[in-house]
Subunit: 332 residues, 2 copies
């Protein structure tokens, strides 16, 4: 059996731990198609936060307490960069993490595509699932903010056209520096129009026995994957069932800032809201099944089979149990 998962970030990494655990018990192979919209170049280093979160977590090298980055991390390089006055100071670049970015940057500059680089990095981490970035092209999520609100929050608005009432910042600046406190007007996936699905992604979707949408942020983790032309069509045309797992439990995100992201695009922060956003395959959407938490058992999404199971990813076993329920919902 082949399970393909669309995922991003920390939530995706935790979910994939459960997928891997369950896949091992049933002898299934797992392909994870990972969001690249969070990617950013800082200090000349190509940083892929979602790929790294998944790789470190599945490879046992993540910091469980802090929730991101490497275990036993040190921050000597960052401290020194600050001493040189190298902006931006707000991004948490650990020394161990920097080695990953250096390795990636050297390989990218040598001409290897991101998917090949990811494969090379995974030879060290042995994540136990096949990890593929959504695209090899550079595609980065940016956030449009109201100019006055951005300026009040300390954003450099000098480069925005004088007549514009909006400024656009990289997702990382909005997420990490501003902590999402300035309302997002919209999200823009810069480079998406030129992006192509990375080698292996379309095949992994077409050839899957089931496709799972991880309980990742629907707006900034899952949507950018489908912003890659061809990816959405692949999901709609695969013979496999497509089961989504709700990232919202009882009206709140399991983790992160999905509530702020959903609000900015006018989607209700609920299992129903996100289910409707993904939509039913029968009506131009993606889902055949939608897995929600028991507190959201009343959820309905027209054309989609909704089932409930506990969605708190407290440990691998709990998460594997979610995955079992998702597979069951997909009829596999």
């Amino acid at each position: 059996m082949h399970i393909t998962v669309i995922a991003g970030g920390i939530g995706g990494a935790k979910f994939l731990q459960g997928v891997r655990a369950h896949a091992r018990t049933i002898g299934a192979e797992v392909t994870a198609i990972i969001n690249v919209g969070d990617d950013v170049t800082m200090h000349g280093l190509r940083i892929c936060p979602d790929l790294d979160s998944v790789m470190y977590t599945l490879g046992g090298g993540n910091d469980v307490e802090r929730g991101w980055g490497r275990a036993k991390e040190t921050f000597v390089v960052k401290e020194e960069l600050n001493a040189y006055g190298m902006a931006p100071e707000w991004f948490g670049l650990g020394d161990r993490d920097i080695a990953t970015h250096l390795t990636r940057t050297v390989m990218l500059n040598a001409g290897y595509p991101l998917s090949a680089v990811t494969e090379a990095l995974c030879r060290r981490w042995q994540p136990g699932v096949r990890m593929i970035p959504a695209t090899d092209e550079r595609m980065e999520t940016h956030v449009a903010l109201r100019r006055d609100e951005a300026e009040a929050a300390g954003v450099d608005v000098s480069t925005a056209p004088a007549e514009s009432e909006q400024v656009v910042v990289h997702f990382q600046e909005w997420w990490v520096r501003l902590r999402g406190r300035v309302d997002a007007q919209r999200f823009i996936f810069i480079g998406a129009d030129q992006a192509k699905p990375a080698p292996g992604t379309l095949e992994a979707i077409a050839g899957a026995d089931i496709v799972l949408l991880a309980p990742s942020n629907p707006i900034v983790s899952i949507a950018p994957v489908f912003a890659v032309p061809g990816m959405r069509d692949a999901l709609r045309s695969t013979p496999a069932p497509v089961v989504g797992v709700s990232p919202i439990i009882g009206g709140s995100p399991v983790r992160g800032m999905a509530d702020r992201c959903l609000a900015s695009v006018g989607i209700e922060c609920s299992a129903t809201g996100v289910g409707a956003l993904y939509g039913a395959r029968a009506t131009d959407g993606l889902l055949t099944g939608w897995l929600v938490d028991p507190v959201d058992a009343q959820t309905t999404v027209p054309g989609v089979t909704v089932r409930d199971t506990p969605l708190w990813m407290t440990d691998d076993e709990a998460t594997a149990s979610m995955v079992r329920a998702a597979l069951s919902l997909g009829g596999v």
Copy 2:
């Protein structure tokens, strides 16, 4: 008064500490023209060992015990790079050092010339002397080795033409990895033909009251500076006296591997040998004065005034005293 110093490496850095100390007592300004032949790009980072040695030493950030690199250095990034199998493993890249290289690389990639980058880095370190790289162009010292000897020492000779009896390696590979144990056939300053003196260097030589050649390695620290077209002419045409300080005391280098470098080009490892290599300005060479240690008091270089003074740079005061003797020898 303006003192201009041609220098490279650790020996140059120590000498410049003495120059700075003496310049402070007499109210002189110091310009240091620094060798870039040791520069190398590793892991995508532009590394300038001589510029950094001088900058860290004069800025009080050098490791006095180890003799190179930063004080309180850690090696987390390097350890991680090794875990990724990133070659070369033999180069000691510390975390603090890496921040310097990252800052430099970002600025170079943004289009700033090395001289401007050096000035920017020095705003942090405040070395107290004006530091200028010999050239803004990329010019790197390479070493030709006998193919059979190189292969026996573990050098990858597969990229050398099959018919060639020599292979060429970067100076750092010969110096750090091979520790100079394979005989150098010759030194090649790759890029020298396209190099131009960095802004300010020719003016600093022409406008100096005295030019000093630091007791740095004559073959791989001083010679590459003069390999930059125009630099030698500037030294020969300046109205200022040019006083060299011998890096050899009693037939041995003060530090480093000048003996191996000199042997490879057939120069005797002695104050006389190096003095003759630099030569007298009157006879197509560079020197008006040559400062040697008392053990080498019998040294003669035709056309050059030779004087002796203790040349062991045991502390800033001893070195400042050498500088005072050099200035006196130059008649300033």
